[in-house]
């Protein structure tokens, strides 16, 4: 049973961080001695030299991750995220963005705002994806900025993490704040845990708080290994992160904006040919949304809202993020013609949840 708990920060002044601030450029001193820290080491440092070697790596990760760590303002909420592709894909938490196609204001680490929107989510796993839709700011200095490329944090493999390995957390605790780049924190891997839906989560003693949600957890090689999700407020050691591998398993669905696991009430009203490679309509339900929009038997659906449809199963998957009465645009092939058809989806809003997969869709 899930009890709903409201979360609130009253009196936060939005206007306070509308001014761009400059991130201090930390000079990373080269370590003189030969002591090195193995990024996968699971024991505590045993000397000042070892602590300095560990410090060197944490500073490197912090420096690297400043341009890729972003704040997300979604409606009245604030969370964090990390850029993972040079065209601006951002990993975040599902509960930060709420649902697909929400407009988002991203806050870069120097306080600059850029626009974008949410893509797919998996509420049970608390994984979410978003995309920056603007070009990098003119004064951006990272490589490729002039060609419109965003800086990228490389994704690691959460399955390879070891208990007690040192890690680094970035994000915007308390929401993005004027004059403050995302604060860096360090800690170690704890035992994995799980939430009510039994979706496994990573646990660390990198301390997190409201606003950090969606922010990246890095290994000491600077690779994203998790996304901040939740905390137990009474234990500083209980900070939970969505494993980055979870994103990889559903990557395409997240990118195209599905609400993974959601039982949508929207009904299209078609049946597809089994075994057919494309999404070829085998039957149109009488008086359904599809019938009203003149979709016909034999039509092959090529795209839904501009996103390519490869197989018939893509259609119900993609419709998870839509509701009855939403309008969607299909690109179809009928005989030798390619047509664009808009469909107002059927179904009853707020009808009791029921499985959709086995029904005509």
């Amino acid at each position: 049973m899930i009890r709903k708990i409201p979360l609130r920060l009253a009196g936060f002044v939005l206007a306070a961080f509308l001014f761009a601030a400059t991130a201090p450029a930390a000079d990373i001193p080269k370590i003189a001695d030969s002591v090195k820290w193995d990024t996968a080491r699971i024991t505590s440092p045993e000397s000042v030299a070892e602590l300095k070697a560990l410090q060197y790596l944490v500073k490197e990760v912090n420096k690297q991750s400043l341009p890729t760590t972003v704040g997300l303002l979604v409606g009245n909420g604030a969370g964090s995220g990390v850029i993972v592709s040079d065209d601006g894909l951002v990993l975040t938490a599902a509960h930060v963005v709420g649902k697909p196609r929400q407009s988002i204001l991203f806050v870069l680490s120097d306080g600059t705002f850029v626009k974008g929107e949410s893509l797919g989510i998996n509420t049970a796993a608390d994984s979410g994806m978003a995309k920056i839709t603007e070009a990098p700011p003119k004064n951006a200095t990272w490589p490729g900025a002039k060609e419109g490329k965003w800086p990228v944090a490389e994704m690691g493999k959460s399955a390879e993490l070891k208990l007690k390995q040192w890690v680094v957390a970035m994000g915007h605790p308390g929401g993005p704040k004027q004059d403050r780049p995302p604060p860096v924190r360090t800690g170690r891997m704890g035992s994995p845990t799980s939430n009510t839906s039994k979706s496994p989560l990573l646990q660390t003693d990198c301390v997190l708080v409201g606003g950090d949600s969606g922010g990246p957890l890095f290994d000491l090689a600077g690779k994203v290994i998790g996304i901040h999700s939740q905390i137990n407020p009474f234990f500083l050691e209980a900070n939970m992160h969505v494993p980055v591998d979870r994103f990889r398993t559903e990557w395409n669905r997240l990118v195209r904006g599905d609400s993974i696991g959601r039982k949508s009430e929207a009904v299209l009203g078609v049946k597809f040919d089994d075994g057919d490679k494309g999404a070829k309509i085998a039957e149109v339900v009488e008086a359904s949304a599809a019938a009203k929009a003149d979709l016909a038997v034999g039509d092959v659906i090529l795209k839904l809202n501009g996103i390519p449809v490869k197989t018939a199963v893509d259609i119900p998957d993609m419709l998870t993020s839509f509701d009855p009465d939403d309008k969607v645009k299909f690109l179809i092939r009928r005989d030798d013609e390619t047509l664009s058809i808009e469909v107002k989806l059927g179904g009853v809003k707020n009808a009791s949840a029921r499985p959709r997969r086995n029904q005509n869709n």
Binding site: A10, F12, P24, P173, R188, T193, D205, G210, P233
Partner: protein
């Protein structure tokens, strides 16, 4: 175990799903082994760190800033003039309260000594994010270690307001109307006043035996009480179907700030925070878990450099230190007598109820 999703609402409400996590021991105590490693590099700073006590109770750390007996500490923790100072070599002194600067919360103390080890602060730019730092104490081992999270910055919005956030909260919003009358316009759900049975429309006339003069007077009275203190609140309540009012007295058990919202709860659940934790001119942020009574001492890096003075445990993820650029000019003004010390009682007796 209840956990909370950690997105944040700027205004309004969001609904989040907590979950029951498997009750496994989260992380080993590896971080707790680290303070020992710092002993050699922070030795000088430890010599310049004093334990500050008021009425024999630990209230803060102090930072020696002049070999002739000048010590800076966190002023808001000094609640009486019975101030003593203790060093790690065991020496103890009575301290004179020289001056207090409210924006920085820095108090200057003076003891009768002439050959103390004093700290030398380095510029804020040396506090680079990622650097390991320690909070020294009146012991060889620091009380806590962590890393710099964010370099020196100014504070804005609610973080720039000076208040004692550890006071008792009553959970009332006032009506703007009514000149000298303090009329309850709104009750914070489940907070102190609502629980005690106060109602919207009640006129507050007396709190803890003191007549409430106006709306600004009430917070002043409450500032002297802690959460869970029980105080009597006398109100005038309109008698039903009549123009008369009747006098009624309620016993109100004051709430902590955490009763006011989920965000406060997330910040306060992990341990005590400093009462005065906002309104500083500039702060360096680090991730050390520092007890409020251990604030006021030096913040020292792995090269033994003193990069700041710990001024507040500010939240679940953060402790704040004042940078040299803020401390140095204020110290001079304090020594010049520009900011006199507040008049404090001779001891911190429990407040009469």
């Amino acid at each position: 175990m209840k956990t909370f999703r950690i997105a944040l609402l700027l205004t309004g409400l969001v609904v989040c799903a907590p979950f029951v996590a498997s009750a496994e021991a989260p992380v080993d105590k590896g971080k707790k082994l680290l303070p020992k490693l710092f002993e050699s590099v922070v030795a000088d700073a430890s010599d310049a760190t004093a334990r500050i006590q008021v009425d024999g109770k630990d209230v803060s750390m102090g930072t020696v800033v002049g070999k002739t007996g000048y010590i800076l500490t966190k002023g808001s923790e000094l609640r009486s003039s019975a101030i003593t100072v203790k060093f790690r070599d065991g020496t103890c002194y009575d301290a004179e309260y020289v001056g207090y600067h409210k924006p920085t919360d820095l108090a200057l103390l003076k003891i009768e000594a002439d050959d103390l080890t004093a700290v030398k602060f380095v510029a804020a730019k040396n506090a680079e994010p990622g650097n390991w730092v320690a909070a020294t104490a009146d012991s060889s081992e620091p009380v806590a270690v962590g890393i710099i999270s964010a370099g020196a910055r100014k504070l804005f919005g609610i973080e720039s307001v000076i208040e004692n956030a550890n006071k008792g909260y009553i959970g009332i919003r006032f009506d703007v109307g009514g000149k000298d009358q303090v009329v309850i316009a709104e009750l914070v759900a489940k907070a102190a006043a609502a629980k005690a049975g106060l109602k919207v429309g009640d006129i507050i006339v007396e709190v803890a035996g003191e007549k409430v003069k106006n709306r600004d007077h009430l917070p002043e009275i409450l500032d002297r009480y802690k959460p869970s203190d029980r105080i009597a609140v006398k109100v005038l309540r309109k008698v039903k179907d009549s123009d008369e009012t009747e006098e009624m007295t309620f016993n109100v058990t004051l709430s902590p700030k955490s009763a006011m919202g989920q965000d406060e709860m997330m910040n306060l659940g992990g341990g005590l925070l400093s009462g005065r934790r906002t309104g500083f001119p500039q702060v360096i942020q680090h991730d050390m878990v520092l007890s409020p009574k251990d604030c006021g001492g030096p913040l020292v890096d792995l090269d033994g450099r003193v990069v700041g003075l710990n001024i507040a445990r500010a939240g679940r993820v953060e402790t704040w230190a004042l940078p040299a650029e803020v401390i140095t000019p204020v110290l001079k003004e304090l020594q010049d007598g520009k900011y006199p010390a507040p008049k404090l009682p001779k001891s911190t007796k429990p407040v009469e109820k």
